[in-house]
Symmetry: C2
Subunit: 229 residues, 2 copies
DNA sequence: TGCAAGCATTAATCTGATTTTTACAAGACC
DNA sequence: GGTCTTGTAAAAATCAGATTAATGCTTGCA
């Protein structure tokens, strides 16, 4: 099912973020063709994308040079996923957590000022689903509701760049569930906080929404650090 | 000099973000070959990158469909540049301002905990330069110091994702000066706040740093909105 | 020792052919 | 008439061969 292009892209991307191919390593297109048994078009297009993501640089007569982490497009969902899958998961999640503690409270407060009735409804419904599936212990359905909640909230902020961070948050939530960095049963307190945010947004209370969202991130960070220790 | 690949990439990218090719428009690879007079490899690789940026989606038997803005990788430097060049500059700057109000205070507070002595020095020196050039009314030198201040601070947060947002902040600062959305002489208060952040970071006082940085963003937003009215 | 010419390597580009997927339509059936 | 199957063609995806253009490195000369 997975197309050859995506296959090569994923595999090389993962080898780079995992550190198997450290910065400075030099590859060649011919080498990739042989390694993966694909035609030049496939490896060529994969390399172009990796170069766009800042993971590789191409140079004539030299080849493909693996780039230092400082040049990576760390906001690209693909890079985030690779790093969560095979890279420095802990560092990555800490970075993302700190970042979220910055922009999600702002998004919550903006959403309280700008959310449409439909978005308020979607938010409440997602929060309710979290209650139901959280209590039932259905982690997959809980995750789905969690993702819906945060994506809707960021969308409702009316700020397209905050909305664009929805992909990043989705990767974090999915990643930490997938890698078992979550309590086996979601905490009652976390679930409750989501409901509080939803109500504050509906009531148009930006400060209440912001504070509740700050608590969500703090709680999530604490839960995760404990779990990793 | 500019390679064919980058040429096609830039041109198609700009046509999309400018709205000349609205979401839903369907193109074909053959069409691009003809339009730009390049071979399939070139258009193919450009399309692959555009697809990675979320601007296009490819589908067999259909062609290339221009995607809605909601899927764009709006944090990619290429996309930011295209939008500042041919897109909606003012909306873009407002979005970026709201985003900054989220992550810069967090970065300031983290920097107070983690900045190295060298970074503290660079921060203080940038703040001093802002005083000097601000009072002298040298806008270009002031901007340079301002950019140095914020980039250093984000770097000093010790969080690579916050550091990666340095480029974004630079765009905001440069953009608003370039488009005359700044007071002709920087406000004494704004300059003073930067010094306060630098001192708080050096002293290791995260809360003071955070509050001062919040004030910087609030002041900047107010100044810009007034100017636009 | 320094410099310039030439060589060899590798990405960049062009081209033609084949394979695979799949939207759409024509026909078959109820 | 409406739904289901089947066939066809359109377009991307992939493969493969050849040519072009930069450019790092070496060689030879002064």
């Amino acid at each position: 099912m997975a197309a050859l292009h995506d296959d090569v892209l994923d595999r090389v991307g993962q080898r780079i973020v995992s550190g198997e191919l450290p910065a400075g390593t030099v590859l060649t297109l011919d080498g990739l063709d042989r390694d993966y048994g694909v035609s030049r078009s496939v490896s060529r297009e994969a390399v172009r994308v990796l170069a766009a993501l800042g993971l590789l640089a191409t140079k004539r007569r030299v080849g493909l040079t693996v780039q230092d982490r400082s040049g990576w497009q760390v906001f690209d969902p693909r890079v985030i996923r690779w790093r969560l899958d095979v890279g420095d998961r802990t560092d990555q999640l800490r970075s993302l957590g700190e970042l979220r503690s910055g922009f999600e409270p702002v998004a919550a407060s903006l959403a309280a000022l700008r959310a449409t009735p439909e978005q308020c409804g979607a938010l409440s419904s997602a929060a309710e689903d979290m209650v139901i599936h959280g209590r039932a212990g259905d982690l997959a359905a809980y995750l789905d509701a969690d993702v819906r909640f945060h994506s809707t909230l960021l969308e409702a902020s009316g700020n397209e760049m905050l909305a664009a961070l929805g992909g990043v948050v989705t990767e974090v939530l999915t990643g930490r569930t997938h890698h078992h960095l979550m309590p086996s049963a979601p905490l009652e307190e976390a679930i409750d906080l989501h409901g509080r945010v939803a109500r504050a947004v509906r009531a148009g209370e930006p400060d209440v929404a912001r504070v509740a969202m700050e608590a969500i991130i703090t709680e999530a960070t604490a839960a995760m650090t404990e779990d990793m220790a």
